[in-house]
């Protein structure tokens, strides 16, 4: 192995490969898809909006109701002059809820006089009626000086992994699909761009000229480094363009790098099997599909035989680590299994590659 040879071949490939339309396309397509997803989807769960009309009698009730609901509903408050006006707005479907508040309401509540309070609802509201009534009840109790009977704490408990759409709730659609496009980029570089570079060397017989002074190992290492460089640049650029940064960079980047090393190794094996770069380009799409598909379905696919097969594909594990790394949460449990599967594939791919190289000069 010669560092001088590796450096020379690496520099040549880095410049030469992107002049190849097939390689360039393999790099650009995932970018286009990631940017498209970035604009199509939104990570934030939108807070429903609701309009409440109320009789203007100087009560604090509407404002306190808005404060109480601020985390779950965006309440727009509109004062009107009379009960008739409240009813009219509800009938016209201009508001979801109407509050008919009598004069001196706040004082009467504070004095414990149990004043009347009319609530009117539209037949179909964007916010559940019991949410609104429950909140009104809570607020008026507070206004009456009544102490809440319990100290309530609420927690959303995620269902077990793979049993529901928790991933999308936790991560958001935008981020999930941007990550899936990132896995696609890694797949296309590893399984399409890198083998095309190698297959073209063999097809055009430039490999013969190179290996007159450099070893096959030098050539393969240089091409693996070119693939990894494209990956690092591509992933970095995607993170920048989508304004995304992993909460746990160690998990995120270790997953990306391990997946990249594995798929580049697979690509180098693939490059030696095809007679021409065009042949590889034609068949590469078919090979690529099952390799990158797990990135898009790992979040929704349930257990079962097919589920286990998907789990065994390196991109599925790379995606899991990327999801955990980007969110900073253990959305997918048992990360060590992901690392184990990725390392196992790396060992298999590179052992096969070394075996193949050892037979080239026989």
């Amino acid at each position: 192995m010669s560092f001088r040879n590796i450096k020379a071949i690496y520099r040549k490939d880095l410049i030469d490969a992107v002049k190849d339309a097939r390689v360039l396309l393999a790099l650009i397509v995932p970018f286009g898809i990631a940017i498209l997803y970035n604009f199509m989807f939104d990570d934030e769960q939108p807070i429903p909006e609701s309009t409440v009309v109320y009789t203007e009698v100087g009560s604090e009730l509407p404002e306190r109701l808005r404060d109480a609901l601020e985390d779950s509903v965006d309440l727009e408050l509109e004062p009107v002059e009379s009960e008739a006006a409240v009813r009219e707005r509800i009938e016209d479907e201009d508001a979801d809820m109407g509050l008919v508040i009598p004069e001196g309401f706040d004082d009467m509540v504070a004095a414990g006089e149990r004043p009347p309070l009319g609530l009117l609802f539209r037949d179909s509201t964007g916010v559940p009626v019991n949410t609104l009534t429950g909140s009104v009840d809570l607020v008026v109790r507070q206004m009456a000086g009544a102490q809440e009977p319990v100290m309530m704490s609420a927690e959303i408990v995620s269902p077990p992994e793979g049993s529901g759409p928790t991933l999308f709730d936790d991560l958001g659609l935008r981020l999930y699909f941007v990550l899936a496009a990132m896995m696609m980029l890694i797949g296309m570089v590893g399984v399409l761009a890198v083998p095309i570079i190698l297959a073209e060397e063999a097809e055009k017989k430039t490999l013969e000229a190179l290996t007159l002074i450099a070893s096959y190992l030098d050539v393969v290492i240089a091409k693996a480094l070119v693939g990894l460089t494209y990956l690092v640049l591509g992933v970095g650029l995607l993170l920048g363009l989508t304004q995304t940064w992993p909460q746990d960079p160690l998990i995120f980047f270790s997953g990306i790098v391990l997946l990249g090393i594995g798929l580049v190794g697979f690509g180098l094996l693939l490059g030696g099997l095809f007679k021409s770069a065009n042949q590889l380009n034609n068949w590469g799409g078919l090979i690529l599909m099952p390799i990158i598909a797990p990135a898009f379905i790992i979040g929704v696919w349930g257990p079962g035989v097919l589920g286990y097969i998907i789990e065994a594909i390196p991109v599925a594990q790379g995606m899991k680590l990327a999801v955990n790394g980007i969110s900073g949460e253990a959305i997918f449990a048992n990360m060590w299994v992901s690392y184990l599967i990725l390392v196992a594939w790396i060992v298999i791919f590179y052992a096969a590659l070394v075996f193949r190289l050892s037979r080239l000069r026989s």
Binding site: N5, K12, I15, K205, E208, A209, T211, L212, S362
Partner: protein, 296 residues
């Protein structure tokens, strides 16, 4: 102008003058004996041509000598170094002009040479020197896919000279070139030899081998069937003839090896009937047919 180099070459005086020493070299692919127990030596500075049909074993021999393929049996040394165990030391002193024009076509001529200059650890000034030598300075910054076949071949020659090799293998170097480019290339090969580079040439062109080579070797079905200077081979195997024009304007081809023909010629000469006579030497093609039993 290329002159026959066979007359000017001094054969080796001792073993230190031997560049290639092949002994009982064989390469089998299953039952196929691609190269079958061949032995020969090539002297330092010699132009040695390897002639044979397609599949005769020429390329397999080159592949073994350049470390691309391992021999099944036998041995060979280049500059005293074993082609299997000392390959690492052999590669920097040899180079190959392959049959195919294997350039990086999206890269410029200069970038192609710079890559190999870096691989061989050669100063980049060598690139300029070689571009000038093969007359490619002007188009050096253009992608080589825009080059003509002759320009590409000149660039490949320049690439093969980047490490100033002591031994240069040329595999069908003039194939596909126009006559002017082919002549230019033959001149360059002769010049390399004059400067001390040993040239191992494979070609289908008998005239090319005859003009350029100090010695030629014929290989057929993996076996070496003749090795000598072109002149000796023609003398040994070629038929010496004479073309005679008589006073009655009749033309006769007579064999100088045939006693009856020689007697007839003597009679014509003594009777004063011969108007003109031209001797005709056998060609390498004739020699190849004589030793291989079929034309090349």
């Amino acid at each position: 102008m290329v002159q026959s180099t066979a007359e000017t070459f001094d054969p080796a005086k001792d073993s230190s003058d031997v560049m290639i020493d092949v002994r009982n070299l064989s390469r089998h692919f299953g039952d196929v004996r691609a190269v079958d127990d061949i032995s020969f030596t090539v002297q330092r500075g010699e132009i040695f041509s390897f002639l044979g049909h397609n599949g005769a074993g020429k390329t397999t021999t080159i592949r073994m000598l350049t470390g691309r393929s391992l021999p099944t049996s036998g041995s060979a040394t280049i500059d005293g170094m074993d082609i299997v165990s000392d390959l690492k030391n052999i590669l920097p002193i040899i180079n190959v002009v392959p049959e195919d024009q294997n350039l990086y076509e999206r890269l410029s001529g200069r970038a192609n040479l710079e890559l190999f200059a870096e691989l061989y650890g050669v100063d980049s000034s060598r690139v300029d020197e070689l571009l000038a030598r093969v007359d490619l300075e002007e188009p050096a910054s253009r992608a080589t896919k825009t080059y003509s076949s002759g320009m590409k071949q000149r660039l490949i020659i320049a690439r093969a000279l980047i490490n100033n090799p002591r031994l240069l293998f040329l595999d069908e170097p003039t194939r596909g070139l126009d006559p002017a480019s082919a002549k230019e290339l033959r001149d360059m090969i002769a010049e390399l030899s004059e400067n001390g580079t040993t040239v191992f040439l494979t070609t289908h062109l008998m005239e090319e081998a005859d003009d350029l080579s100090h010695r030629v070797a014929f290989i057929s079905n993996g076996k070496l069937i003749a090795v000598d200077t072109p002149r000796e081979l023609k003398l040994q195997h070629g038929e010496r003839t004479a073309e005679v024009l008589l006073d009655d304007r009749s033309e006769h081809i007579i064999s100088l090896n045939d006693p009856d023909d020689a007697r007839q010629l003597s009679e014509w000469m003594s009777s004063g009937r011969v108007l003109s006579m031209h001797s005709r030497e056998g060609t390498l093609e004739d020699v190849f047919i004589a030793v291989a039993g079929r034309p090349l």
